[in-house]
């Protein structure tokens, strides 16, 4: 009889998407918490060398970053393939490092100005000449605390 009407043969039952926002929000919160905003776009190749005797860097507000490496592929036709220094968003010469450090230092709070660390994020392929030049500039402006920023790994990874 028609009281128990057979529903078979109709359309497929719809899958409820009501919980989809919850799932997406969960992911969203995870990434919001885990995110650190990138404060400068890298214009260089920056594969850090590996080391395993490393120490954690200080809090973020006590660190300034100096990047170096060869320009990444989209910049090679303008800047060539020689290693360069990047400060904030643009390429810089060695002479500009000192001024950059002084400007960064002046922008920090008074009590932090003496405890600043300079993090050197230098590509593994870079020649030491450039790194030595940077170090020399840092010595001139009394920014003596440095950190060779590396990734965690065995040193043998540096040889392939």
């Amino acid at each position: 009889m028609s009281k128990f009407k057979n529903k078979k043969g109709g359309d497929l039952p719809k899958i409820s998407t009501a919980s989809l926002p919850d799932i997406v929000f969960m992911l969203l919160f995870f990434f919001m918490v885990a995110t650190v905003m990138r404060d400068s776009t890298l214009m260089i190749v920056n594969v850090l060398p590996a080391a395993d005797q490393i120490q954690k860097l200080d809090k973020k507000d006590r660190v300034m970053y100096i990047y170096a490496g060869r320009p990444s592929s989209r910049y090679t036709d303008i800047y060539g393939t020689g290693a360069r220094i990047q400060l904030n968003d643009k390429f810089a010469t060695v002479e500009e490092v000192g001024a950059f450090v002084l400007a960064e230092r002046a922008a920090k709070r008074q009590e932090l100005q003496n405890v600043l660390t300079t993090s050197l994020k230098v590509d593994g392929q870079t020649k030491m000449g450039l790194v030595s030049d940077i170090k020399q500039e840092l010595r001139k402006v009394q920014a003596l605390k440095i950190n060779y920023t590396t990734r965690l790994g065995d040193y043998t990874q540096n040889f392939n």
């Binding site: 973020k60 593994g124 030491m128 000449g129 920014a143 003596l144 040889f159």
Partner: protein
């Protein structure tokens, strides 16, 4: 009049909004790799009279432009560097007031007197690759850490910690101030037993 139920807000677009935010955060996310080898650069000052260092207390480490490692002018494989440095630091060949009572080395008279006196000089060429330099720095730090671990565990065996672990606890902001003071004194005792005396020469200009 028939009772009307409140109209339900359509939540169908909620997922879209959330996706938009999610994609934004996905794109801006960088997993930070903020750790590395801490170093202190020497200040620029004119050394009036350089201190006299005995030749045996001095270990020259050179990385040449072919990325070869030379210790005391002999080629050394990087994997052997750690043991060479430990042997040099831990030699303890001094006598009298230079004697080292905790060293476990060979006490050879031609190697360092005391870890306090021992100086490692690192020199590199302008053409040396940065990653090789970092690997060498890493091994030098590893040698010091190994010796400091040994002495820390020996002196403070009831703490069940080694130097690195103690340092990690000391740098952790959650550690209480009392504990920090206690650790600080112990860490500095061990640091003074094996002070990191790493001298970096200006890179050789000629190529």
């Amino acid at each position: 009049m028939a009772k009307r139920s409140a109209p339900e807000v359509n939540a169908g677009s909620m997922a879209d909004i959330a996706f938009l935010l999610l994609i934004f955060f996905l794109v801006t996310t960088t997993i930070e790799t903020d750790s590395g080898l801490n170093r202190k650069l020497p200040p620029i000052e004119d050394v009036v009279d350089p201190p006299i260092i005995k030749e045996k207390n001095f270990l020259p480490v050179v990385i040449n432009k072919y990325n070869q490692l030379l210790v005391e002018e002999k080629i050394v494989e990087l994997k052997d560097l750690r043991s060479v440095v430990i042997e040099f630091l831990d030699n303890g060949g001094g006598k009298g007031e230079d004697a080292c009572d905790f060293c476990r080395g060979k006490r050879s008279p031609s190697s360092s007197d005391n870890p306090v006196k021992a100086i490692i000089s690192l020199k590199n060429d302008r053409e040396t690759a940065y990653k090789v330099y970092i690997a060498v720095q890493n091994e030098l730090v590893a040698a010091y850490n190994e010796l400091r671990n040994r002495e820390f565990s020996r002196l403070y065996f009831n703490m069940q910690l080694n130097f690195i672990e103690a340092q990690k606890i000391y740098n952790d902001p959650r550690t209480s101030i009392d504990r920090k003071l206690d650790l600080k004194s112990k860490l500095s005792v061990v640091k003074e037993m094996f002070p990191m005396k790493l001298s970096e020469a200006e890179p050789s200009k000629k190529s």
